[in-house]
Every structure is written in structure tokens, then in C-alpha cells.
Amino acid sequence: MKFKVENGPHVKSEETTSKIMTRFLISLTPIVCFAIFKNCLLNYYYSSVTFIEAIHPMLMIISAVLTSFISELLYFKFILKDTWENSFYEINRSFTIIPGLLLALVLPPNTPIWLVIFGAFISNILGKMLFGGFGQNIFNPALLGYLFISVSYSSLMGSPLNAYEIDTLAGATPLSNLSNLNYYGTYEEVVGSFGTFLNFFVGTIPGTLGETSKMLIIISFIYLIATKTIKWRIPVMYILTAFIMTLIIGHNIELGIWYALFSILSGGLLFGAVFMATDPVTSPITPIGQTFYGISLGILTIVLRFLTPYPEGVMTSILFMNMLVPLFDKIGLYFKENIKKIWILIILFIALIILSVTTISNNIKNLNNENASNPLDNKVKIVKKEKKDNETIYSVTSKAWGIIKADVKVVDGKIENISITDSSGETQWNEIEKNDYINKIIERQDDIDNVDAISGSTYTSDGLKNIVKKIIESELEDEG
């Protein structure tokens, strides 16, 4: 029997769609206000930025929304050859500005305006209109714009800290801090450097425009569920899975509940779960499908956070699961008919969770065990190794400020050259080039621990040094 699932969003009438979208926008309003409050007002008051610099985040939101609006309007008029009147009507109907607004809220506060415009354009045109318009897209439009921005110009996205935070806080966002600590540390190290959990709750921590105030997100979440605006199963299962997983991981590595609390209160998890994963068009329709969609999102996000060099993981997870939505709906329909067999699926997912949690816990233990293996394992990953006679070419991914990708040529056991294929996440790359750092570390590869990092670009320097260390280690392993 073949089930065909029709396109979303599945609502009873246009009026209902309109109400849903309106409530959605209402729920975002406090978050937008807080974003402006924290990043514009507080920033201006406490640090020495100029007025123009201070209102930058507000300009980001306005330009994103305007770009969404204008690009769709022009698309309707000139590509679909509609009338002006009809174009405006369509735009009204489909709440064009939502992708732009969401995009602005997942970007760091210092993203250049032209980049925001680029992203918003992609979100609406590529993510929505080209696929057929409202209700017909596969991928969350705002996240698609975000994906394009970060693949194209990630180093230009700017620091996630606004000027005030740079003055008062050390280091990067809570999640990259955790990653740099190899996922293990005391409460002081992990949470303390940013304040108390109250800070996380209220939102006075570094992060993208929309994600920081967990309190406001939770309030919006309750509002949205009470008014039956969003598919509640998805965020509930997503956050629950993530919490349970980090709880078990924390228990395995002998850290308290605060570890799990930290995991769900940092980064874009709450924001993504409530506002992005629940997008009516790009999420499953069947209740069972939604439940397992949420669980899968939780598993994938935690796996990406703890096992790959990327400290976040929410955006990629949602985009990845967007691809599998038809599969989730198939599962939803099948098990609705055969509800008794659902225990198979439940066992499968529990097995997956146990597998992931065990792998992650072991990984963390290995990284932090003083005697043993390899702190480098977390920092540098050898992605590909091509060996020909006495020459080997390694493709590596190294955690630096962002991520560095490089191809390293090794001849007769010695590194001959390093060719950088991606350093776009490094904001201080010009320092590296100015100091001819790459040649320096190749020259002193036998003595690499004593090579100084370049001040101002410590993370990047260390990231490069770690590449050398990892390769030399790998070569030694091959010989021995």
C-alpha cells in the first residue's frame, strides 16, 4: 500500500495559517526586543562603541526583513509575472519576513550588513521561491541562508561577542569554551567564566542575536504550545533527548547535573528547537513522525557537539533532518497502522542513544586522561590519507579559532608542505601570513612544541601547530 503525503502546511484554512504565523511573530517579539536591548542599548551604555556601531544589530534585523520582503516581491512581479496587487497579496499571505527575521536572529551580532542581505536573499529566493513558494520548500529557509553564509564567508561573520562582552569576558562563547576544555571541567571553568546559571537564563552571555535569553524562549514556548501554534512534540522530544543524553554523559564522566543543564542552556539548542525545528512546512506531519524527528535531532546534535570539531551543531542537525522528513512521515504512517510494532523502533532508538552516549563518554575520558592517548584526537582529525611510495598526502581538519582544513604532503616521514584549503573561520589569518607562520612550523617540525604562537592569534597558531604534531605522530605510528 503506497502512502502519499501531500505538501504542508496542513491547516484547515487560510485564516488559520494566518493566525499561526501571527502568533509566531508575536512570540518572537520579546526576543527581538531583548536582542536589541542587550546588544545595542547595554552595549552602547557600557562600552565605547559609537552610535552607529551600537545600532548595528538593529540594522541587521531591519535589513534582513526588508531584503526578504523586497526580493520576494520582485520575484513575484518579474519572474512569475504577477501584478503588483497580487504580489502584495501573496506576500502578505505567506509571511515573507519570517525567514529573514529568523536568519538575523541566528547570526552573531557583528555580521556585516551586506552578508545579512546576501543570506536573506538566499533564504527567500533559493530556500523558498525556487522550490515553488510558500508551503513547498524542503529545507528551513532561514537555515539555508545561514548555511550559505557560513560556507561562503564564515570568517567575515564576526565575533559572537559584542564590544562590551569582549571587554569583560575572556574567550569565546560558552560552547566553544567547553570544546576547548575537551568537554571536561569544573563548574567554575565551564559555567563560572560566564557568570551563574542566572546569566544563562536571562541571556547576558555571548551568543547570536536570538539565542541567548533562555527565559524568554521558554516563555514563548509555553505561549506557542498553549495556543497550539507549533508542533509541540518536536521541541519537547528534542530538548528531552539532549538533556537525558548529557545527563548520562555527565554521570559517566563524574560531573553533576549542572553539566546537562549547561548543555541545554547554552548555544542555539532552545532557540532552534522551538523556532526552527517546528517550521510547519519542513517538519513531519504525523505525530509519531514528529516524536522521532525530535529524538533524532537530539541525538544528532549531541553527537555533532561532542564528536566533531564543530562546537554548535543545531543548525546542521535541523538541516540534515529536514532531508529525512519524508522518511519520518512514512514511519509515522506505518506505525500508526501497526502501533503494536512500535517497540521495535523504540528499542532501535534507545540502542542508538546508548551507543552514542558510550562513544562520547569514552572519547571525553580519553581526551582528559593524563596518562593516555591523545588530546590531539579531539583537536585534529585526519580525514583522508593517500599514500604513494614514499609520499603521503594527509587531509586534515583542525580545531583552531574556527576550523582549519589543510592538505599536508609528507615525504620520507617529513612534512614537506602544508596547503590550506579552508581558513575562512580564522579572523586573524593575515597575522599568520604576515609572519610566514606556516613555513616556520614546517621548518621547526621536530621542535614544534617550542614554537611560539603568534600573539593575537593564539587559537589559530595552536590549530596549525596541532596539525604538525598530529601528522608527525601518525607517521611515527606507521613506522612503529
Binding site: 522550490f131 515553488g132 524542503i138 555533532l304 540534515f320 532531508m323 519524508p326 585526519i382 583522508k384
Partner: protein
Amino acid sequence: MFEIFLTALIVENVILTKFLGICSFLGTSNKEKNALGMGISVTVVVLISTILTYLINKYILIPTSSTYLQTITFILVIACFVQIIELIIKKYFKNLYDSLGIYLPLITTNCAVFGIILTNIKMDYDLITAIVNSLGSCLGFILVIYIFSLLREKIENNDILKSFKGIPISLITAGIMALIFERLI
């Protein structure tokens, strides 16, 4: 070993990264059933060809210093093997032939099969590594072609611009999938 498997599956994905098998990818991914059929057929052919070409390369070509004959030999091996399989299935498994058989001739000219074999040879893998690589690559192929077929079925009835319907929008979707896969590791 697991790393090679994972690399073949995601990082160096046959379709999304190495661009192999595009013709069959675009051609058979419009229906879920076709996609699965193609994927399974490819897997069978690749796995056995991996073993055959490895043996031929190791025991015939290299000792006689005729590695320049690699291209010709391997493609002939694949072509003959596919022909033989087709005959066997046609004779003994008529049902299977009806559902899968039409893909077999297509597989001969499928870049994916030939490409995976060539990769194993160029990277100088020993037999076990070659099999692991081929297995990972095939699973990557099946995964991508299956997901893609589901997505294509989903957007089949969308109001896409006439000039973008079919191939262009499919390519764009594949591109987005590739970008997402790239961010997994």
C-alpha cells in the same frame, strides 16, 4: 579501518563529493523503488568487481608491468561481469530480473562503479581496505540516492518554474545536500 569506512560514506561521498554516477542518480531517483533497485544493483556489482579487479591487478598486471592496461582491463571486467550476472539472473531468478534487471546494462557505463574501482587502485589499497572502502562508498551511494528519491517525490507536484522543473531543481537540491554532508565531519 572504521575511519576509511566513514570517510567513504560521508566525507568523500560517491555522489555528493566525487560526482560519480550522476547520470544514473538523476535518472533513477525519481521514484523510491527505482532508487533502491539501482543502489542494490550497484552495490553487488561494485563489491564483486572490487575483488576481481584487485586480483587481476595484483597477479596479472603488476607482475607483467602492464599497469597502463588498467583502464581497458577493468572496464572489460566490469562489462563482462555485468553481462554474466544479467544472464544468470534472467535464467534462474526471473522475478528478480523483472524488478532489477533493467538497471544492469546501465551499470556498465555507470561512473560510480568504475570510479570506486579506480579509487581503490590509485590509493593502492590492499584487499581488505579496498572492500571496506567499496562497502562504505556503496552505502553512501544508496543513502544519498534513497533520500534524494524521497525528496524528489515530495517536490514532484510543486509549482516550480517551468525552466527549473526536473533536472535544475534536482541539481540544486543535490547541492544543498552536499553542503550539509560536508558539515557533518
